[in-house]
Symmetry: C2
Subunit: 387 residues, 2 copies
Amino acid sequence: MKKKIIYLDYGATTPIDKEVLAAMLPYLKQEYGNPSSLHSLGQSAMAAVDKARMSVALFLDCSPDEILFTSGATEANVTAIHGALKQMPSGKPHVITSAIEHESVLEACRQLELQQKADVTYLGVNGQGKVQIEDVEKALRPETVLVSLQYANSEIGTVQNIREIGFLLRKQGVLFHTDAVQAANFLDCRVSELNVDFLSMSSHKIYGPKGAGVLYHKMHIPLAPLLVGGGQEGGLRSGTENVASIVGMGKAVDQLSFPHLNLINIKIRHMRDRLIKGILKKVEGASLKGSLEGRLPNNAHFTFEGVEGRDIVMLLDQKGIAASTGSACSERSQEPSHVLLALGIEPSKALSSVRFSLGKYTKEEDITKVLKVLPPAIDQLRRRAVH
Amino acid sequence: MKKKIIYLDYGATTPIDKEVLAAMLPYLKQEYGNPSSLHSLGQSAMAAVDKARMSVALFLDCSPDEILFTSGATEANVTAIHGALKQMPSGKPHVITSAIEHESVLEACRQLELQQKADVTYLGVNGQGKVQIEDVEKALRPETVLVSLQYANSEIGTVQNIREIGFLLRKQGVLFHTDAVQAANFLDCRVSELNVDFLSMSSHKIYGPKGAGVLYHKMHIPLAPLLVGGGQEGGLRSGTENVASIVGMGKAVDQLSFPHLNLINIKIRHMRDRLIKGILKKVEGASLKGSLEGRLPNNAHFTFEGVEGRDIVMLLDQKGIAASTGSACSERSQEPSHVLLALGIEPSKALSSVRFSLGKYTKEEDITKVLKVLPPAIDQLRRRAVH
């Protein structure tokens, strides 16, 4: 029998909720139609996609026509940035983002620079990972056309003032994209409140399946497709719809709107706070990164002096605890995290990071177990380092 | 209870094979790790993706490093064409394709033209939908860098001489991409035999789930990614892997290699031939499109004089038979099929087309039912047209 894993890596991916899987299964079995087909099997698949679209539109408080289903958040981010820029009049536009964005946003921006399609400003952040609204304002130029800032950081959980920045940018007539992947479980994502023109979401971070994401795109704002062909998704994303994953994402989003979510999130925050306090008390040389207040309720991110984060993650894994050195996407590279470097942390110290990210299946006893296992594990690694 | 559907639209999408779904389910349940995560749950997901990669490599007779998982064939096609062109030295390269390609190939080529990144030649085909190798040869220019031709057509099932064209192009040092989406169920797809540098496949056309595709890309041939970010798939396709769909595609490909497939395909061809003969005999004004010999064994494509294909498909649907007017991707547009126009068929006649595409769950009695239902249905529509 497989040993039970204490999963504290919800920031990397979440298990699929049972009700989500139940909603998906018909579309992996008898409801196998291609949504573009005219016959009833196709129509039934299309109706399921449209129902999911409506769920997401309700969650984001927008029109279903403004919802674009993609294969995931990376595709949503790249589509927003490259797709919006492609529609700009000629000349060299200017884009603003921050140094701590997800790699898909940073890399999409770097490509714009390499191909000389745009100038890009990468805003710095303060010691807690916060973008200052004054810095956004100062960076604006007459040719600034797009700002892309994440709602919450995947590594350190810092939440940005998307609403205020959005208000500023709307006044200036500058398009605003936010990557809300990590935020969707916890924060208000109504685009009408956030003043954003584009917003990205991922299914597999909200207890939905992998293989689906959403790009909200405000009506009447020109956007070029990344994937061209059959003209699905109103011509903005060709390719046969991944019906089962889209249905799953719709169901996952439905559950984000449930009133009991607030209670779950209060419970998660309480356990997370116990984890933070316990680690700071029990482990010498442990230092919390990011903000204590303005962070996602499920995120606890530390550096541990004199120990490699990778070694900690591997040792915890042996003891049945799944954690991460930062974001899963960058975990295989042995480079220090670009997020931690942007906070001003030295490269050597940045390699000693561990992220615990909690979720709706986390239990108090899981936290108790981590607080019991982690201190001697760190000790063990430090002794090993000495010899 | 839902009425039983006679499904003759396997060219649009296939039901998921039961063994494929069984292979996927663990990755929709307990095996939910992110393949990029260092811990065992992540490693286990990565191992599953790599196992699927090996299955596809065995099927295509190539190295697993040459297999790129995408969200589907549209992404594979667009990545091959745009990704290969991005890596070309400056100057204006030349691309050759045919007039009857899938929309994703055609549209990717049109974008190259619009953005003045390449000149494109769209080869015509003969009356049966066949590209002539002499035409390819004549179209070659010193600046030709890429040829993209489908292995088999999705509407009329015509099979191209990929191997011979590949042999020609390899001698000339021109890159060759083939869209093998419709061919994979029936034809030899070993890239070593086909002399191709890129090959696209779709999971949901081979009894796998939607949401996965493959791009084979020959080692050492430069390819730029379409989706950038976390660097998954060797940096060629960023974004968290859709583990369950990839596992499903691997299993589906495994089953393509089973010896009994040949028997199934002989059975399919036999039923398809009975369908073609029956329709030609029983329905006046029915005309088979494409080639009788050089076509996929599951494809039967007709025009029916004086009747709209859409009306036939809708009426058949009411009688429990799922067919198509052509390819699902273009079915919603009311335009005549670009494939039929390329065959030299008049636009008005092109709108009277119906495709029946058979699959491994098709039964003799399904064909009997179609041969019983279709002739009076056509009569009924013709009478309606007269009044």
